[in-house]
């Protein structure tokens, strides 16, 4: 691996295979015996897998390899979505599969905005149909990654179903387009409640609501008011608020003042991307979308990465950490910890070109033989 810093980007200077091999190496080191444990009968989970476009398929292949190697009792039901089609059949299949299994791991589905405006973003459709109202991103500085700011630890909770992403637009007069941003009391209360519950669960001290209520007095004003109402029920947690433009400015100069942040949809998009950039880039941060009944895991910044697809340089870290979050959700804590540990160990290594792995990169099955025989 050329330099530590490069691992932070969406693509890395080493090949993704090399990184994957390192992760498998560390995983192997953690297992006590070379014989895989027997899978429990009926103890296997089925998870929907949506490869998506761009780097999605290759990242999810890495996840499958790592799961296979670690004998994770998860089977994947793969559902492909063709973003070039204008009909919604593919998406309906995907949504039905997720309803069936309850959990999904997905890559980003490209939204070609050359198509008619009636063809909405597929990712958005998935989130709203399944009512995945909370997008959670835990932004942590990772060891071994060079960034301008160190020791960042921010949790971002973003309302995932309404706000600016309501996809309600019309051209009332030729040349004049109106786009509606919807804020509802129910959804604002719901996301605020989720944020405070999560903060309490994780032992966090402060929740900051991000808004623009000085300009959008009714819409963001309602959001802020709901946050305040919920905050009054959690006296052990400090609540404050900050206007979104000031928030981005503070994030790039003094990010350590933030603990947990809760906000409507679009500001969540901006803030989560800023934070992902601060801790080292889109290739590092996992994201999760939670609803009352379903959960979907993906990379936090939801990049399609078309320009680097198929070149074996996409950074698998974010998707692997997302799969660990998924395993935690499935209560497979041991597997999650094992894989997470292997990923972080790989990142922290200065020289990853271990002699035993050199030259084996593209041949993963050979790799396995090498592992079993070496140790």
């Amino acid at each position: 691996m050329a330099t530590r810093g490069h691992l932070g980007n969406l693509f890395c200077s080493s090949s993704a295979w090399e990184i994957l091999n390192c992760i498998l190496f560390w995983l192997h080191n953690q297992t006590k015996s070379p014989t895989p444990p027997p899978a429990k009968y009926g103890g296997r989970h089925t998870v929907t897998l949506i490869p998506g476009d761009g780097i999605g398929p290759e990242l999810l292949n890495h996840v499958r390899e790592v799961f296979r190697f670690s004998c994770v009792p998860v089977d994947f039901e793969v559902v492909n979505v063709n973003s070039a089609l204008e009909t919604d059949d593919d998406m309906n299949n995907a949504i039905t599969a997720i309803r069936r299994n309850g959990i999904a791991l997905k890559g980003n589905i490209e939204t070609k905005h050359t198509m008619a405006p009636s063809v909405k973003s597929r990712n958005n459709l998935l989130r709203t149909s399944l009512d995945l109202y909370a997008n959670v991103m835990h932004c942590q500085s990772l060891p071994g990654v060079q960034t301008r700011h160190k020791n960042i630890d921010i949790m971002i909770i973003r309302e995932n179903t309404e706000g600016e992403y309501s996809s309600l637009e019309h051209e009332s007069v030729s040349g004049v387009v109106e786009s509606l941003k919807i804020i509802t009391r129910n959804n604002s209360l719901r996301i605020a409640d989720y944020a405070f519950k999560l903060a309490r669960e994780k032992g966090r001290r402060r929740v900051t609501a991000v808004h623009k209520a000085n300009i959008m007095k009714l819409g963001d004003g309602l959001f802020l008011q709901c946050c305040r109402e919920v905050a009054s029920g959690y006296p052990d947690i400090t609540f404050d608020s900050m206007i979104v433009d000031n928030t981005t400015m503070q994030l790039v100069s003094k990010p350590h003042q933030f603990d947990v942040m809760v906000m409507p949809n679009l500001y969540g998009n901006v803030v989560s991307n800023v934070c992902a950039g601060l801790v080292g880039g889109p290739g590092l941060v996992p994201g999760a979308n939670y609803g009352n009944a379903y959960a979907v895991f993906e990379t936090a910044t939801r990049n399609t990465g078309k320009s680097i697809a198929g070149k074996n340089i996409a950074n698998p870290t974010a998707m692997l950490l997302a799969s660990c979050m998924m395993l935690d959700h499935l209560k497979l804590y041991d597997h999650a910890t094992m894989i997470r540990h292997a990923v972080l160990k790989t990142m922290n290594e200065t020289r990853v070109s271990l002699p035993s792995l050199k030259g084996l990169s593209p041949h993963l099955p050979l790799c396995h033989e090498a592992h079993w025989s070496l140790f």
Binding site: P117, E164, N214, I215, L222, Q250, V252, G277, R302
Partner: protein, 341 residues
Amino acid sequence: MSPAVMQTVTLIPGDGIGPEISSAVMKIFEAAKAPIRWEERNVTAIKGPGGRWMIPPDAKESMDRSKIGLKGPLKTPIAAGHPSMNLLLRKTFDLYANVRPCVSIEGYKTPYTDVNLVTIRENTEGEYSGIEHVIVDGVVQSIKLITEDASRRIAEYAFEYARNNQRTSVTAVHKANIMRMSDGLFLRKCREVAENYKDIKFTEMYLDTVCLNMVQDPTQFDVLVMPNLYGDILSDLCAGLIGGLGVTPSGNIGANGVAIFESVHGTAPDIAGLDMANPTALLLSAVMMLRHMGLHDYGNKIQTACFDTIRDKKVLTKDLGGNSKCSEFTAEICRRIQDMA
């Protein structure tokens, strides 16, 4: 330097620290012998005959006459009775473009070096249309308005600015994957205008990608053009990269040749009247104003004196890391200017 014709500029000191930083700027201009005659006006909103809020008529008359304005910070209350003062000014003079050049200041260290970009934000419509309704109890709808004319106008300004200031590329920032029709329209207009400016490179980028890349490597950006809300967020993000609103200049360009340059920080009521304020932002905005008026020599002289003072680190206000008063900082800049003559 041959004596130039005196030009009138409407000065709006503003609230909080506004009056003290305005007088600092006036002192520095006097030291530089800049040919500017200041006309001070107050813009506190008053209710007009029709019941609509408006700025006082004498302020409007002064601006219409002089065409150039310099403004300090104004109070913007949350959920108050009258609209934001800044919004009112924008509507009155149709200030459609907000221009914020963000250049790293040597001597004021931030984690980001070599920042040199300009954000050009559409300032009249978009998410700040101010049109909101309560549909039913507990459901609020805010309307984001994007029009063909405004989008074309801001795109044209952005490319003109790039050409006049020797910038090489213009990037349109949007979220057309989610807001297909509105941001799609904005993007289409930008593309059309780009056709007439083949000498300038035109690119498009999603707002989230811009944010992501901006905090990792801001040197890849040059001129950014975008609708209102994204512009608000991004221009403040870029200001944060170079050191905050206390050192960031800003200009608003309107129809009919009107231009108002302003400092974009708050009124800082906690330090108002204590001679602690930092006049750099207002001063750099005034320099932008001089350049806009064609008085480049005066602008360069004042900017050099200001940057030299900051680089020297001997006389700095508290927010820049020093212990000096506003008046001392101002005096130091004046001294440097006089030494230059």
